[in-house]
Symmetry: C2
Subunit: 344 residues, 2 copies
Amino acid sequence: MNKPATIKDIARQLNISISTVSRAMRNAPDVNADTRKAVMALSEELSYQPNKLALSLKQKQTHNIGVIVPNLDYVLSTMVKGIDEVALEAGYTVMVCQSNESFGREMVNTRRLLDSLVDGFIISVSSETKVFDHFKKIQEKEMPMVVFDRITPHLKAPSVRIDNMDGGFQATEHLIEQGYKRIAILAGPKNLGISNTRLEGYIHALNKHKIKPDNDLIIHCDFNQDYAYVATQELLAGKKKPDAIFTISDRMAIGAMLAIKERGLKMPQDIGLVGFNNEPFTNLVTPRISSVDQPSFELGKIAAKLFIERVHNSDMDHVEEILKPKLCIRESSQRIAPKNGRVK
Amino acid sequence: MNKPATIKDIARQLNISISTVSRAMRNAPDVNADTRKAVMALSEELSYQPNKLALSLKQKQTHNIGVIVPNLDYVLSTMVKGIDEVALEAGYTVMVCQSNESFGREMVNTRRLLDSLVDGFIISVSSETKVFDHFKKIQEKEMPMVVFDRITPHLKAPSVRIDNMDGGFQATEHLIEQGYKRIAILAGPKNLGISNTRLEGYIHALNKHKIKPDNDLIIHCDFNQDYAYVATQELLAGKKKPDAIFTISDRMAIGAMLAIKERGLKMPQDIGLVGFNNEPFTNLVTPRISSVDQPSFELGKIAAKLFIERVHNSDMDHVEEILKPKLCIRESSQRIAPKNGRVK
DNA sequence: TTGTAGGCGTTATCAT
DNA sequence: ATGATAACGCCTACAA
């Protein structure tokens, strides 16, 4: 490891003091032009790089942001891209850690980053997490923290998310308008906020249209394809079959779709299907799946912006940005031809 | 920011010296049991956390690994998960940076992490990158560096990748065996290694079966769905139409598929299609797309293992792990019924 | 067993 | 305009 040059080396070679070099480097006003030139030249030659560690230690800030996400699926990796974009611009480096939806991993990652590696956090909470002590520790240190996408009332912090209720509402009302009567919902895990809020939207839509929610049509299952597949099989095998299904993720929609096809039912004729996230593949399967689109990249950018704002202003815990999702209607749920033209 | 406790605080409160505290903390052998107990108790009470920055500065190592990837799509995020798994186990924290396939971003990210933030790098090269000076700088510093997935001959470093040639070969030979005669390939950008190697595999398979490669059937286009869509449209509109297409990514396969459907051709009867990556959605579209599966998670784990090995052994530049991919045959290319049973 | 002193690379304060 | 010195939090000879 041929060690990197330090200001000390430069000082020694130039026969000037360390502090002068330091000043010259940072374009301080009170330094002789020639001296500066000499310093610059030599530092170039030695390809001097200031040591961030020393700087961070001194200034007690790292200019790193810890980003903790449950996974890096389509939606979250797009959001992270948004965070990255803004953070980089503002001179921050992003450290991404996946918790794999595991509470333990989330704790470990948080603790590690907390060890003076980052100035603060941008967090999306794992679905497994029910205790928030590790995050509260961040706040006890009065570190900036922003929660995004998967927020929780347990954490008082500036946040940005989409209007999940509205998303659930749009999806459900659309199905109602298409004439579906018995609309089931495959909701996610019970302790997951986005799951419950999308469910609320579903209930709202039913209520608005005077349809009584039926508990047999409200299924909580894990957030993935396989569980959705099984849940749908059971729904379709039961005696109170649904004629439409709203799944709160596209992965789950796929699971549902497989079960539906297996049973020989046709979408949208026999049964309607709407997913959530608008992942690219919804547009590729047959039939194409209607899905609620969310502005993920934008959301990530806002999360980072909130963070940066929060750095300078600690009175922001009440800030809660909410972005509107938008239903994309496709074949899987469109059984009444739209008035003006064709399905996208 | 109520500042965290340091060993200094502990020393002062306990009326002992800093070094004793330091020793007690690290379970040094030569420290009185009572002293240690007292130190432990107080450090617990003050919820003391050693300052990683100071440690890193002192020891000149951070125990961070910089991971630079062109994006976080399905394959790469799975690989990163593998890296994460092993790295965490070994006491390393992973810093992931996306270059967004941009050379500039890749440089910026590398430089940032290089500023004493990481002990080394695990890298997958962006498709845009043709100059490797930023990576060579890593090596000049004699930092450990491992290249994975998207490797390049320009970088002498331990690496792990899949056998892309074999993947291309498997896909192509399978199409030949299914009786396709005019097999086109949608290869990626020309300067991308995996693109060319998969293309080589394609050529090999053709040669083996005495089919003369036709330059009109070899298309280089950007690594995404839209370009593949256009390229396929052109192929199918030309006078020398292919009767099968091998795309070197599943995203591209989707683009091809859209163009094929648009033209009213049926898969696998009229035209065969094979993709690469075995992304989950290949199993979901209609028809299901045959695709070359690669052990992404495993590959990530190996990358991290190589890194850790490399930390202790600098003579590893020749190491080159190669994992075998495996073709998953599905409906899009299967026009001869398999002998033993059904398509998966 | 414990304490003292010096150093990691940088900046900031106070002299000169 | 420049230099000396202390400090950030920790570790490690060396001394006691």
